[in-house]
Symmetry: C2
Subunit: 463 residues, 2 copies
């Protein structure tokens, strides 16, 4: 019998949780650590606090593989009345704005809560205080998965005597730590390269304790919310901006709703689209909107401003040198670019020799980062892997499978074009592909010159 | 400034459409063909009609890469008042039931509509009639992406003079046919192996016309909706079933809400969980529910019934032989198994020699199918690839990279554990992994025996 139904977003992601990084108990363990840590780092950075984060993993029942995780940070916390929704309503987030963060979907923390509750029947415990708050919030939460609403099991407030701010999260779940441990530690190690200003303490139930101490006290400038870059903005976004600009004439609309459009540029666009500068945008017909869209696809706007972004910069090269002690390192940071209105910056590095190993059979030494998150899984289909495999390395006299060479790619953007909801790898987005290729080629020329000069010197020595 | 927001599912998938198979104009073209054809095949099969499907791809504007697709089928169509929601409301579907179909998410058709409208501003055209309907429905539709509601641009009814039934869909979008053509044709070719009872006609704007004619008039039995298999059912599902069983005592609940539980099994479960057989399930406390859940994780229930599934069966081996003309073919179909309550069947084949090519550099000849859908992208991370790479093929004296050998895997289930919303590949789900491995090993022994016998004979000839 044909029965049509509508389901809620939480029901959808519950039914299809393999899509969100919870495909088996080992991956679930990794994903929970990742989602909680990334939330903590976002909160500290956006609040302007040098991150101090502690992660504890305990084993409640070995035979059942029942684990308990506790993550504590000194970030901005969450306002009391928002806490149930932040952890109990899927597609609810403070990161749906045009600015660089690790969070993007409004899903991660909630999937962790959901997975915990469906494997152990336990609520998650949230303890939080916002900076300057007189009280500390305490919640025990579940999700009503059918209705996508929080289910508050317990809530209370306690006096905040030590002026603490931040968030502590505790939850129990069925996970396979044995199979995920190596990847979790790799993730933490690479995180410390990307956030040298953070102090991260990790302790598991096997007696391991990892301390990644701060290497610098300098917090990068906090990214600011920005406007869309006009190049490549799609019709939906254009129409939404028109709808939220009642009574605005075209020139004011272009200047106020997009970055990098001044009065002169607005004039040129108006001429090219054959629309009066003072025409009220909510009165534009479908034809005129389409013409505007077509012009904005190809008009040579200036590069985006970067106040919404936070590249790794020098810290990337420093972190790589410290971690891998290469004989030689080439680092490059691209000018800002954009795709579909989203500003992004690509930075890459190629490291040679020193402690860089020869790659494993048929593999490449590739380290990928997106908005400072290390991507540890599924590199094969990542756009960076595609770029590297489609470059002809003979030109540079480099053998990427047999030389002690490692590639590092960081992409930062107001929207990372992930291919998966578990943030495993990045989609083959044409503008991003191009920027990675140009940056890697630039580094390749430099590394190639060094390697070949070295080979000439050694050859002369032999002679 | 920290601004919390909730967004609708359509807004979420619009913002993150790389996640749904729309990561660039070439992939978008492929995904649209795939989503429409899969909807048509589902409709024909579930309606009991031998599928006759036509796909036309035209080029409206070469420079803009604006394409128009038209797909026509003789399936069940959609009831008039449901059409706007079927194509205009994300997470709305007739396939949220426990039965095998290609559709599973309630997303595919809508993402196509969404993508068309944001790239060309055009609505999609839907023409449909249900079997026996006196009229034909005509709609032009868009999606209100912010609110996740259909936006009906035009609607009308016409007299159904020829007693037609089915659906015709027409939509315009920006796509790169050049870069996706090869994959589209591969997809159609492999589809014809999986559905030998379907007639598919495909015509593009470059003068290509592919006709995949019916090889059999025998439609497989229509899958029937079933109950969850009790093994591995998670807490959320258990609680939902309890909630929808008011006033039911435990024994009746177990027998009526799950397949493969008779009175005797219900009695044993009640003893193991230490809960009275006549206890009303809505009165169970959290402890009792947890005990029930724990028992159902490990109790040795009988294998699932297969009325909800439709494996390829003999047709798989026949199709492979016809398409690849191998020298030798081993085919195996596993007993039904289940994961998280979902019945599934794995069938595999290994083909050797004949027209099977030696694989490309570092690749394996692997053909993957899920619920009769050929999976063409991203095989590297697919569970089948993992299984094949983790088997030690020396034991079978087979070199999977250098012998003319090809692997075929079909998984059918009430829920395919896809890793991505574009249905590119299947997640590493432990029970599924195990079934694929056992099936491939069985075929490997047979193929190995054949190859080695052949080598002995050739060796003796040389001597
Ligand atoms: N440790 C934390 N400190 C402060 N706020 C937090 C913390 N963890 C979560 N939040 C808040 O809860 C919201 C929801 O978090 P969640 O992880 O579900 O989604 P997200 O981080 O916005 O996106 P993503 O799904 O990509 O992670 C966040 O946007 C943030 O506002
Ligand atoms: N050609 C068709 N004939 C009959 N019904 C159709 C057709 N195409 C779509 N439908 C109906 O519209 C619904 C929505 O289709 P849509 O592709 O969006 O989701 P789905 O097929 O249910 O799941 P998935 O996202 O996995 O494809 C289907 O469930 C089906 O009921
Ligand atoms: Mg998050
Ligand atoms: Mg569909």
């Amino acid at each position: 019998m044909i029965r049509f139904e509508e389901i809620s977003p939480s029901d959808f992601f519950y039914r299809n949780r393999e899509i969100t990084g919870f495909e088996n108990p080992a991956k679930a363990c990794y994903t929970i650590v990742r989602e909680y840590l990334e939330n903590s780092l976002d909160s500290c950075e956006l609040g302007g606090f040098l991150p101090n984060i502690e992660i504890y993993l305990k084993c409640e029942n070995e035979e059942e593989k029942r684990l308990r995780i506790k993550v504590a940070d000194n970030g901005m916390g969450i306002p009391h009345e928002k806490i149930p929704y932040a952890f109990g309503k899927i597609l609810y987030s403070s990161k749906y704005v045009l600015r660089q963060h690790r969070g993007i979907f409004g899903l991660g923390g909630k999937m962790a809560v959901l997975y915990c509750q469906i494997t152990t029947n336990k609520p998650v415990r949230v303890i939080s205080a916002t900076p300057g708050s007189e009280f500390i919030s305490y919640f025990e939460l579940k999700i009503d998965i059918v209705r996508n609403e929080p289910n508050v099991v317990k809530r209370s407030k306690v006096l905040n005597q030590d002026n603490w701010h931040g968030l502590v999260l505790e939850s129990e779940f069925i996970g396979d730590y044995l199979l995920s441990k190596k990847k979790i530690m790799e993730y933490l190690f690479q995180t410390s390269i990307a956030v040298p200003y953070a102090r991260i303490y990790y302790q598991d139930f096997e007696g391991n304790a990892l301390i990644f101490d701060r290497k610098t006290d300098k917090l990068p400038p906090i990214p600011e919310e920005t406007l869309l870059h006009p190049r490549g903005v799609d019709l939906e976004m254009l129409k939404r901006l028109i709808k939220t600009s009642p009574g605005m004439p075209l020139n004011k609309f272009l200047v106020k709703r997009f970055q990098r459009i001044g009065n002169k540029t607005a004039e040129e666009i108006s001429k090219l689209a054959n629309i009066e500068l003072d025409k009220i945008v909510s009165k534009l017909n479908e034809d005129e909107i389409s013409r505007l869209y077509q012009i904005m696809k190809t008009y040579p706007f200036n590069k985006p401003n970067v106040s919404s972004l936070s590249p790794l910069g020098e810290a990337f090269a420093i972190g790589i040198k410290e971690a891998f002690k290469p004989e030689f390192l080439a680092y490059d940071i691209r000018e800002p670019s954009s795709y579909e209105g989203h500003p992004f910056i690509v930075e890459t590095a190629i490291a040679y020799g020193g402690e860089i190993p020869i790659p494993e059979q048929n593999e490449i030494n590739l380290y990928r980062f997106a908005n400072k998150i290390p991507l540890i899984y599924d590199s094969y289909n990542d756009v960076s892997t595609k770029v590297i495999k489609e470059i002809n390395w003979n030109v540079y006299k480099i053998n990427i499978y047999q030389d002690p060479i490692a590639f590092f790619v960081h992409i930062c953007s107001t929207k990372i074009p992930y291919k998966t909801l578990g943030k495993e790898y990045i989609a083959n987005q044409p503008e991003v592909y191009r920027e990675i290729e140009l940056s890697l080629r630039k580094n390749a020329r430099v590394v190639s010159a060094y390697i070949n000069k070295k080979r000439i010197i050694e050859y002369q020595k032999i002679r």
